[in-house]
Symmetry: C2
Amino acid sequence: MLNRVRSAVAHLVSSGGAPPPRPKSPDLPNATSALPAAPPEKPRSPPARSRGGSAAPAKTVEARASFSRPTFLQLSPGGLRRADDHAGRAVQSPPDTGRRLPWSTGYAEVINAGKSRHNEDQACCEVVYVEGRRSVSGAPREPSRGQGLCFYYWGLFDGHAGGGAAEMASRLLHRHIREQLKDLSCWSSQKEVTHESLVVGAIENAFQLMDEQMARERRGHQVEGGCCALVVVYLLGKVYVANAGDSRAIIVRNGEIIPMSREFTPETERQRLQLLGFLKPELLGGEFTHLEFPRRVQPKELGQRMLYRDQNMTGWAYKKIELEDLRFPLVCGEGKKARVMATIGVTRGLGDHNLKVCSSTLPIKPFLSCFPEVRVYDLTQYEHCPDDVLVLGTDGLWDVTSDCEVATTVDKVLSAYEPNDPSRYTALAQALVLGARGTPRDRGWRLPNNKLGSGDDISVFVIPLGGPGSYS
Amino acid sequence: MLNRVRSAVAHLVSSGGAPPPRPKSPDLPNATSALPAAPPEKPRSPPARSRGGSAAPAKTVEARASFSRPTFLQLSPGGLRRADDHAGRAVQSPPDTGRRLPWSTGYAEVINAGKSRHNEDQACCEVVYVEGRRSVSGAPREPSRGQGLCFYYWGLFDGHAGGGAAEMASRLLHRHIREQLKDLSCWSSQKEVTHESLVVGAIENAFQLMDEQMARERRGHQVEGGCCALVVVYLLGKVYVANAGDSRAIIVRNGEIIPMSREFTPETERQRLQLLGFLKPELLGGEFTHLEFPRRVQPKELGQRMLYRDQNMTGWAYKKIELEDLRFPLVCGEGKKARVMATIGVTRGLGDHNLKVCSSTLPIKPFLSCFPEVRVYDLTQYEHCPDDVLVLGTDGLWDVTSDCEVATTVDKVLSAYEPNDPSRYTALAQALVLGARGTPRDRGWRLPNNKLGSGDDISVFVIPLGGPGSYS
């Protein structure tokens, strides 16, 4: 994902100069040690509540090592070094022991080919227990386990311009969701609002609160860069897939592909970005125009007619070129090279509060949205078999692998294992990561068809849908 | 549509008092007499060009009678009185003569049951000739018929708070589209832009220019109220359906329903409206909150937690009620009763430049968008039969008639006529209008199932798709 932020690192530290060493969260009293891997059978007990009001989640930020991988990988110091090796690019998966991820979820990852010092992807997989809130109307809250509920949680976080935001999100976002879901127990009194829309709202709010926490803590704790976030919540028969960024989730069901997310890039979000630039021209700092042109307008074209698109338009029309149109376009470039303000290629995610336009003090954050799009899949509406899976991947996978190719690999790998073999989903995740990475050949990583493999960090979850928990 | 604007008429005249009698456009030199019905075989010759630059269409505003109907109805003074009779509500169609609308298009309309003095719907059906522009780069334009092209055009305009905007749009919008399409001849030099996207852009721009013209001329010419606009353009094998408002277009093809538009209401556009209120709080005048609550918040609930939705959210979450949340919600009500700023129930369309919030000077126009959504249907991708039709209707039809009921009527009526009988589409339009109006019974207009018929103005176009022009 580093390529997505052009020269942005230089602007990350508003105080200027090299980033200071990361402090051990001295001002956060609730700091805990590293989270253990989630026990699949036993839900996590909730940590101590914060005193900061009902909306604030537990503010637990732990001391960060200079490089960390998901705790469920259970990497030894030696394993950590191998995972950090750009030359070997060894595929990492949780150890094949009796203690598996919930639902026997498969996971695999590989570091980039040298784009950034460390793997800036992060992942999280947890079973989270939510205590009920007694009342919404200010009555005292009394902890009571009987009112609670559990959700299953998977998160992929693709960092850019540093690994801090992805790491923080992987440790805390599910806690924000847990805090928001505490209100679910009060639902019955609001008949016009569906249970599903409350879960969706809880996830949406949690993303915003996570982003706000990053903004608050960025100075003290050096939350570097930003990250895309792709999150799955399973609760009461429904799968909620929340996406903010350019990771992707698809369900492969009986060979059929069901898209569960869409990517948010300068191209797909052109109209939202242009609208913001149009309504708040001060955000463009006199340097950019919110209008789009098929190519950069030249000064000699002043007064001539040229094609353009405004925020309300899906088609192209002509306008007479004015002085303002000579400014750099807010959205420019195509495909993977599309950029907002010539800087960033992804338009939703967490963090990036310090990100500035190259060679400028203009902040980019106002154009980035932390809000996810949430899609809901009712697991009870279909009788899933053990070969039906939800595949989550960062753009390292999808840059070189189509949905159809993933579906083919799903079929090929899973059919080679017994349906009740719990290791088949990790084997599938590994096959997907390997298929996107390729093998070293001709001074690069190459796929079997000799095209370039992905040099990006690659992370994949494979979540079996054939009966939650039945394979764990 | 009058119900959609609550007490808005009182606010229409910014000078206060009763509206003055409509002037005969004394300051527009190009004023012409009433447009004749379009000759179906022979394209209209273009009127004289204006001198106001290439983007300005011919500014022909004619003297308006106090009540007018589409010229293609060819109503005599007596016929005009019958069309204006709220008690009889006679269905109006073009006379069954040899001179039909293009493609043997069917049309029928009926006045409302007393909601407004006159029928505030308007309609237009034309064959429009577009002269080519020689160059986009400032070279002199030389009229040359050889460079031109023709498009077929149908428009339905559902006025509210007066008939002026609908009438003006029905007479001028296609001319704005024609002016925009003149640039099409320069297309080949811009390979990255498709022909289709240029037509879409031309239509989008034309809507905006029409709206701007209404704003400019509202003082001198009393452009009353606003209107929804549903427009169809047929050009070079493709049907473009542009919708701004709550009219609807569907294709019924071999019994299958293909939606060709969606409605723009405070409910469907909630997030756009909220975003605008959030980014430009001054537009809310301290009277409204951009947040949505399931019900009106009471002062006694201050400090308590309540469900809400913000502009980025599709789900509901909880927040602590603050003083600002006690303001009236920007979007309130449900279904047909949903309103923006407690005033208007439709969020896209033309005009409404004088519309104010009830008992306030707060303008509503910034929340209304004049931009249409344009859907494209490739007529060449399917072999259409004479029973395949595109049905356009104002909300008077759709308020009491489902898409499926329309499809049933299409089948029933068309199968009663020979496939080559050109009067079958008018018969179908009449049947649809009659089916929505009902018959007078029990002190109201009732449908066969005894439910209330539509008391609104009802207008319907039926456009046959089975070979453009083959039935004319």
